[in-house]
């Protein structure tokens, strides 16, 4: 039995260890687009605290994979899935066969279509490499312009503030994503951000990002009203988009994410999905929903792995999705938690 897991995040990695636990004789392959082993992305803001060695972020030591006989294929992009032949095609034209497939590819930072042209001038923070690049681009005490300002961004933002950087949040409808907020709570939360020493620009639509002229900060964010804002780096934090492109011809149901039942099985019996990539049927909400957060994703990995190995468990969320306002006026998101 060859279990192939696409994705080396929390869901995929956890699923792999559960699979190994439950099916010791099987072959397990994790296919990852990244170069690194499974590391804790949630800790990345620590970069600004001087924790710059990626090894320090590893969840498992390299030996873990060897001990568990989990094959980790990195820098391998899956370009195609043939669900009939049960094969995957990798970008380097290698074909990998599977018996059971777990899709745990997570998501990528969502950038609104109007800003696509500006992507080269913006930094990311969704993996170690881009995070380091952003850190290196940011001078000491520099200004970070954070577009959107979802929960992940805010986690970074509070670290930056703590480490004496200046953060300007250009707020919009994705601010605090994936927390769903009402209009009132939103403004109080925005106020709380200011309490947290973030600058907040609200009510303005970003038109484009430009390289700034002269000797000042490197970037200029131009709003649709013509006004602008300069900073050293510009980070889009508009939430995530599931990475499902490679599945488009796989013959499984996909809406925004891969549609799975509560057992996390897709519309094909031998394919499961877990993590940020999947939309899980919620009988409660009578719709397919995304569930975020370390704990949820880890649970998904666990559920998928169990079901792949003959169990029949259903996913229930483990995370309180409510954004908290703390007594000191600052906010706290449960999505910032991990174990």
């Amino acid at each position: 039995m060859h279990h192939v897991i696409i994705g080396n995040g929390v869901a995929g990695s956890h699923a792999a260890s559960v699979l190994r636990e439950r099916d010791p004789g099987s072959q397990i392959t994790i296919i990852s687009a990244g170069a690194l082993l499974f590391y804790n992305r949630y800790d990345l803001p620590d970069l600004f605290r001087g924790r710059c060695d990626w090894v320090d972020y590893l969840v498992y030591p390299p030996a873990f994979y060897e001990e568990n006989k989990i094959k980790l294929r990195r820098k391998s992009l899956v370009t195609e899935v043939d669900t009939n032949k049960r094969t995957l095609t990798l970008a380097h034209r290698e074909v990998v066969t599977y018996d059971q497939l777990l899709v745990a590819t997570g998501g990528v930072a969502y950038v609104p279509e109007r800003l696509l042209d500006s992507i080269p001038l913006m930094h990311g923070f969704n993996n170690f490499r881009v995070a380091m690049a952003m850190r290196e681009a940011l001078p000491d005490g520099g200004v970070v312009i954070m577009l959107g300002g979802d929960a992940l961004g805010l986690d970074l933002a509070r670290t930056l503030i703590e480490t004496n950087y200046k953060v300007v949040v250009v707020a919009g409808d994705r601010t605090f994503w994936p927390h769903e907020l009402t209009q009132e709570t939103r403004s109080s939360y925005l106020q709380a951000l200011e309490k947290m020493h973030l600058d907040v620009v609200d009510g303005k639509q970003v038109d484009r990002v430009e390289q700034s002229n002269g000797t000042g900060p490197a970037r200029r964010v131009v709003f649709d009203d013509g006004s602008d804002l300069t900073g050293d780096v510009v980070l889009p934090f508009y939430g995530l988009a599931p990475s499902v492109d490679f599945m488009s011809h796989a013959g499984i149901d996909i809406e925004r994410g891969v549609l799975v039942n509560p057992q996390l099985q897709t519309t094909r019996d031998d394919i499961w999905a877990a993590g940020d990539v999947c939309q899980i049927w919620s009988p409660e909400h009578n719709t397919y929903r995304f569930y975020y957060g370390w704990k949820n994703v880890k649970t998904m990995g666990d559920v998928a792995a169990r079901n792949m190995t003959g169990d029949d468990v259903t996913f229930t969320t483990a995370v309180d999705e409510i954004l908290q306002l703390k007594p000191d006026g600052t906010i706290y998101s449960p999505f910032w938690e991990y174990d």
């Binding site: 170069a35 082993l37 994979y65 060897e66 990195r74 820098k75 380097h92 034209r93 290698e94």
Partner: protein, 600 residues
């Protein structure tokens, strides 16, 4: 930035025809140009072209080292099928670079990215595409990959471009341009990559005469030694891994007015060498095991007729055809004892590339001074590995320093084989009217006339043996040397030839672990410097003799000479000795020592 002590080993693996060895060559030359010290060893197949595997390994260091590292830091795969078995050589947090955009579909499991250990860092690179973009052809994949490595580790770009230019200097200018373009494309790609690997390359050590450091193989060093010693004739027959000596001499010797001839076989080669030696020329030949076996009889003639001749023997896996492209140290016996009769000769076994140069040069001096064949024993590993060598400004080798007949008693018949106190007789060569004689393979008297009386045979045999003792004090060559802890040690390592590099590395690692140990290299295997070896062994509680043969030929030699058994550490894998395996042996020997102590 603190000065990083550079110690990086880069392996490039590909199929014959991929240009593996070529880029390896550019790499080490560039690094040597840049002022680093280099040791490099290529593995290549016996096959002419096609599917054979080539591995070019280069270790780049601040100070010269004499072995490859147990683990490679960076592996470049130009052919995954070949590189996959080598993936495990890469250390944790080392890098593996491969082509991420091959043109054809790959069967499952045949891409190297599927074979990396979790600790290794993959670098997929669309080498073919980049090559095509940069040069219009996919042929420069290897250069792209090299450029990528250089860019990745921010190696000095110009040194590489110079090395490439040098490499292709004999070709059309476009070739160089296109290769430089490919290199730059790769370099730029590499430079952009964010590195997760833990490979660090510091600046080269500051050296006043960087340009004097030359990077060359053992065989090339032999060639330089030959040239510096004023070689006049060379006769050879191609045989792996000695061929490159002849190839290089074929280019260089004519420039110096010296003559080289490819003979019809090894017998002819040694015969002509002995003939040229008889005629007074500095003559040499080079071969490997099978050829050397053919030469045994003529070596005996050289001993008997007291003719100088230098024979370079690069050992390879044996017996018989064995493993022509694999290294081994199993020709010690034939080098020291080979042939029939009491045919003692001088055998030098350099331990590194600089030693190859020195031994080659001194071998000519010794052959002439002691009037005997001298074997310089290399092995494939030493022959083919590159090291940076700093040569002295002044050519140290002495020419024409042999004892000649004096004109004092010109009326007396010339005694070519005069019995003297040191056993060395005045030697005349054809053209000298006062030294006419006939050299012979028959036992002879002082005049060279055949004579098989008991007393004469004894005296002459004694002379032929005892005269060689002077070689133990030959100036300008270190025939043995001790390293590591002084005084009494728990573990002593005794090694010869190329294996000494790994032995030294292992010894240093063991010392770092707190084990008291020392290592001695022995360069002159015959006559054996018995006294120093005895003194060293006296200091050692345990003695390990690591060597690349099955029974321990050197161990036998030493045990027999000093009357003490040693721990034999033998490997016959066709590969150089593994440092970590020696290290394990040191540990266990040290542990055994401790156990014994505690038991006591």
């Amino acid at each position: 930035m603190t000065s990083i002590h550079t110690d990086v080993q880069i392996g490039i693996c590909g199929s014959a025809g991929d240009g593996t060895i070529a880029v390896g060559d550019i790499l080490k030359r560039a690094m040597a140009r840049a002022g680093y010290r280099v040791i490099a060893f290529d593995e290549y197949p016996a096959e002419i072209r096609g599917f054979g595997k080539c591995v070019a390994r280069t270790r780049i260091t601040t100070e010269q080292v004499y072995s490859m590292k147990p683990k490679t830091d960076v592996l470049v795969s130009l052919n995954d099928a070949h590189a996959i078995p080598h993936a495990e050589e890469v250390r944790d947090f080392g890098a593996v670079i491969y082509d991420s955009a091959p043109i054809t579909m790959i069967d499952e499991g045949w891409h190297i990215s599927g074979h990396l250990n979790p600790g290794q860092l993959p670098y997929g690179l669309p080498m073919r595409e980049i090559s095509e973009q940069a040069t219009g052809s996919s042929r420069s994949r290897n250069i792209v990959a090299l450029g990528f490595v250089a860019g990745l580790y921010q190696l000095p770009r110009q040194a590489f471009i110079d090395a490439i230019a040098a490499k292709f200097q004999t070709k059309a200018a476009e070739v160089t341009q296109s290769n430089v373009a490919a290199f730059n494309a790769g370099y730029d790609n590499g430079a952009e990559i964010y590195r997760f690997d833990k490979v660090e390359v510091g600046p080269p050590a500051r050296r006043t005469r960087v340009h004097d450091s030359t990077m060359m193989t053992g065989n090339a060093a032999v060639v330089r030694g030959c040239l510096d010693a004023g070689i006049e004739t060379f006769f050879g027959y191609p045989i792996t891994p000695a061929t490159s000596i002849m190839e290089r001499l074929a280019v260089e010797m004519p420039k110096h007015g010296a003559r080289l001839l490819q003979t019809e076989d090894e017998i002819s080669a040694i015969s002509a060498t002995v003939g040229a030696g008889f005629a007074g020329a500095r003559a040499a030949t080079a071969t490997s095991g099978p050829g050397f076996a053919l030469m045994s009889e003529m070596m005996g003639l050289g001993v008997m007729a007291e003719v100088p001749a230098v024979v370079f023997v690069s050992q390879r896996g044996g017996p018989s055809t064995g493993m022509p492209t694999k290294t081994e140290q199993a020709d010690l016996n034939i080098a020291v004892f080979g042939g029939h009769g009491d045919a003692k000769r001088i055998v030098l076994a350099p331990t590194n590339v600089e030693g190859c140069w020195r031994c080659a040069g001194r071998a000519f001096e010794m052959a002439e001074a002691y009037q005997t064949p001298v074997v310089v024993l290399l092995d494939l590993y030493l022959s083919n590995r590159y090291e940076t060598v700093v040569f002295p400004n002044k050519n140290p080798f002495v020419r024409d320093a042999w004892k000649r007949p004096t004109q004092d008693n010109a009326n007396e018949p010339y005694r070519r084989f005069e019995l003297t106190a040191d056993g060395i007789s005045p030697r005349a060569v054809p053209g000298d009217p006062h030294g006419i004689h006939t050299a012979t393979g028959l036992e002879h008297n002082e005049f060279g006339r055949p004579n098989d009386l008991s007393a004469m045979h004894f005296q002459m045999t004694e002379k032929r043996h005892e005269k060689l003792n002077a070689a133990l004090k030959h100036p300008g060559i270190t025939i043995y040397k001790r390293f590591g802890d002084t005084g009494e040690v728990d573990v002593g390592l005794l090694a010869w030839g190329s294996t000494f590099g790994e032995t030294l590395e292992a010894m240093l690692l063991a010392r770092a672990e707190g084990i008291r140990c020392a290592a001695m290299k022995v360069v002159m295997l015959s006559p054996l410097p018995v006294k120093p070896i005895k003194r060293f062994l006296k200091d050692c509680k345990e003695v390990i003799v690591p060597e690349l043969n099955y029974e321990g030929q050197f161990a036998n030699l030493v045990s027999g000479a000093v009357g003490r058994d040693v721990i034999r550490f033998n490997r016959v894998t066709g590969k150089p000795m593994a440092v970590n395996e020696i290290l394990d042996t040191i540990r266990s020997a040290a542990g055994k020592r401790k156990l014994r102590k505690s038991a006591a």
